[in-house]
């Protein structure tokens, strides 16, 4: 079942004529001509669609929080600042099929009563920005954007805004600060963007994939979308698969397939690369807890783990993880967990905006301590020190970057403590190029 990527490999699907030949912009026709904004919102609510950027908050509910004071403009801002390590699905979708996002932007803007909308794209993707701008111009030329869209009296202008290379701008209030031409320091909430967002006006910020899904929901109805998936994990999800698998890439899956199928089936990742065994997976982008092979495939209760919000988080952080952004990083037995954790810690250290002390200082300490462990200078007490620092960051910052920085470190130690100890106790072995700790009796140990 494909909703977002059904036609993604059709030649020239990035041009409006080919896109329309394959049913593109029918949702705009339907929404604007046959539905009211509230009816569109109602269908999105019924669909159960959850925010695809990582938080998983119901999109329809987020829309319903939007304040609508008379005479005050409202804005829809698309979060295309995709920067979570392991995640490249929005990049892929916008690059291959820009009109899929633009159609969703028109439908969603109409539902929210926004007359100006912005797509905030990470600045590194300048080539994708050029693709989007060309596609937007095509939509203007067809009367799908601009004044009086399709003779309906509804006006919408759509602009692309480049970022400047800052992960923090994927946090919605930091993104709005950035869009206002400022440093990307997250704002305190409340007030939430739905009340005071862009230029202090009511604003909805949604991820690329969430917005793109609204077109299909308008065309087919919220119930049809909700019929795909399992329980509260409805619809399809783009999964960015990377690491030691046979076929890295972006896959649109119906939520609810098993993790085992996703990793080993030829339809998706195609299995672990030849001659190697699965060691660990980071299932939802760098910030979610890493799980060892046995816990990613089955829950602690022995059930097959599914690709859903609920199943991946089964067991809490003790034995579970999160679906997050769907950045699915697979590691075989050659992967060094300490090194990988260090790269993530460096990432968060670099990307902390510096506003809250626990995150600004704590991410630096985690980076430094992990660096010395990786380079053969670890001390016995360093493992507990890392756990302590991670604990003191978590929950003590105004935005989730602090949590995102602490979780991967805490989880790596939780599940691979012996690997950290080995680095500290045997620096002469651990610092040899390519050396990796082999746990006795583990499923991945050769």
């Amino acid at each position: 079942m494909k909703i977002l990527t059904e036609h993604i490999d059709v030649p020239n699907i990035d041009t409006i004529d080919v896109f329309m030949k394959h049913g593109g912009y029918s949702a705009v026709q339907k929404a604007i001509k046959k539905m009211t904004p509230d009816e569109v919102t109602e269908e999105v609510k019924k669909s159960g669609l959850r925010g695809r950027g990582g938080a998983g908050f119901p999109v329809g509910m987020k829309w319903s929080f939007l304040a609508k004071p008379e005479g005050v403009p409202r804005y829809l801002v698309c979060n295309a600042d995709e920067s979570e390590p392991g995640t490249f699905k929005d990049h892929y979708l916008m690059w291959k099929s820009p009109h899929t996002l633009i159609e969703g932007m028109i439908v969603s803007s109409f539902a929210l009563g926004a007359n100006t909308s912005y797509i905030y794209v990470r600045g590194e993707l300048m080539y994708v920005i050029n693709i989007l701008e060309k596609a937007i111009q095509e939509a203007y030329d067809k009367g799908l954007l601009g004044k009086n869209i399709l003779g309906s009296g509804y006006d919408l202008d759509l602009f692309v805004q480049p970022g400047g290379g800052a992960y923090i701008c994927g946090e919605e209030t930091a993104l709005l600060e950035s869009l206002e031409g400022k440093r990307g320091n997250p704002r305190n909430k409340p007030p939430f963007p739905a009340v005071k967002g862009l230029w202090q006006c009511p604003t909805v910020v949604n991820n690329v994939e969430s917005i793109a899904a609204t077109s299909w929901i308008v065309n087919n109805g919220g119930d049809a979308y909700a019929a795909i998936g399992v329980g509260r994990s409805t619809g399809t999800k783009l999964i960015s698969a990377s690491g030691h698998i046979k076929k890295p890439g972006v896959y649109e899956i119906p939520l609810g397939i098993t993790v085992e199928d996703f990793i080993y089936s030829d339809e998706w990742c195609g299995g672990i690369r030849d001659g190697h065994k699965l060691k660990a997976v980071v299932a939802g982008g760098s910030s979610v807890p890493i799980l060892p092979a046995e816990l990613i495939l089955t829950t602690a209760a022995g059930e097959k783990r599914l690709m859903t919000y609920e199943s991946l988080s089964d067991g809490g952080f003790a034995t579970g993880t999160m679906l997050g952004s769907g950045g699915f990083v697979v590691m075989d037995e050659t992967a060094c967990i300490v090194h990988n954790t260090l790269t993530f810690a460096k990432f968060y250290h670099h990307e902390s905006c510096g506003q809250c002390s626990p995150c600004r200082e704590g991410t630096g300490w985690m980076d430094k301590v992990l660096h010395r462990i990786e380079h053969g200078q670890g001390r016995k007490e360093d493992i507990d020190l890392l756990v302590d620092v991670a604990k003191k960051i978590e929950g003590n910052t105004i935005c989730p970057l602090g949590d995102a920085a602490s979780w991967p470190v805490a989880a790596a130690i939780r599940h691979f403590r012996d690997e950290f100890e080995w680095h500290i106790e045997h620096p002469e072995l651990a610092t040899k190029p390519g050396a990796v700790f082999m746990r006795k009796g583990a499923s991945w140990t050769k």
Partner: protein
């Protein structure tokens, strides 16, 4: 350095960008215009940032504080080709470290340095959202994916011509 002024064509584009935002909110154009400025002058010198401030009728400090926050803006001179390689987890899993070490050896410089002939600068950056196609580096707008030592050599040979 000659007087810092955008070419007429870019100035037209600047006007169009400012028109994307409501009246009085022209500061929102800061990131897009800093990108244009960097494309024009290679890096964001204080003079370039002062000029951007004047275009937007904001104070220079408002530009400095933004340019120094976002990693894409170069606050020091850079070489003709700035190679920005992704050093985050997924690219490392795909052999990134070896490939980047090769790049540094080949150009005889370290991260953050520029070759003597001013041709290349190497910068280490965080995830470029291309994890399934790693290792990856970026030179200006172009992504170079699935890098190997051989590929790096080919790219450097081509750009050295």
């Amino acid at each position: 350095m000659s007087k810092i002024v955008f070419p007429a064509e870019t100035l037209e584009l600047v006007k169009k960008i400012i028109a994307r935002y409501p009246d009085g909110k022209q500061k929102s154009a800061l990131l897009p215009i800093l990108h244009l400025a960097q494309a024009e002058w290679k890096w964001c010198s204080p003079e370039v940032m002062d000029y951007v401030a004047s275009l937007l009728s904001i104070s220079s400090i408002e530009v400095y504080e933004v340019a120094s926050f976002y990693t894409m803006f170069h606050l020091e001179p850079v070489g003709e080709h700035v190679i920005e390689y992704c050093r985050t987890g997924p690219c490392c899993l795909m052999g990134g470290v070896e490939v980047y070490d090769h790049l540094k050896k080949r150009l005889k410089i370290n991260t953050g340095e520029t070759t003597k002939d001013g041709k290349f600068t190497i910068k280490e950056v965080e995830c470029l959202a291309a994890c399934g196609w790693g290792p990856v580096f970026q030179i200006r707008e172009k992504y170079y994916m699935h890098l190997t030592k051989e590929k790096v050599d080919e790219i450097i040979d081509e750009l050295s011509k």
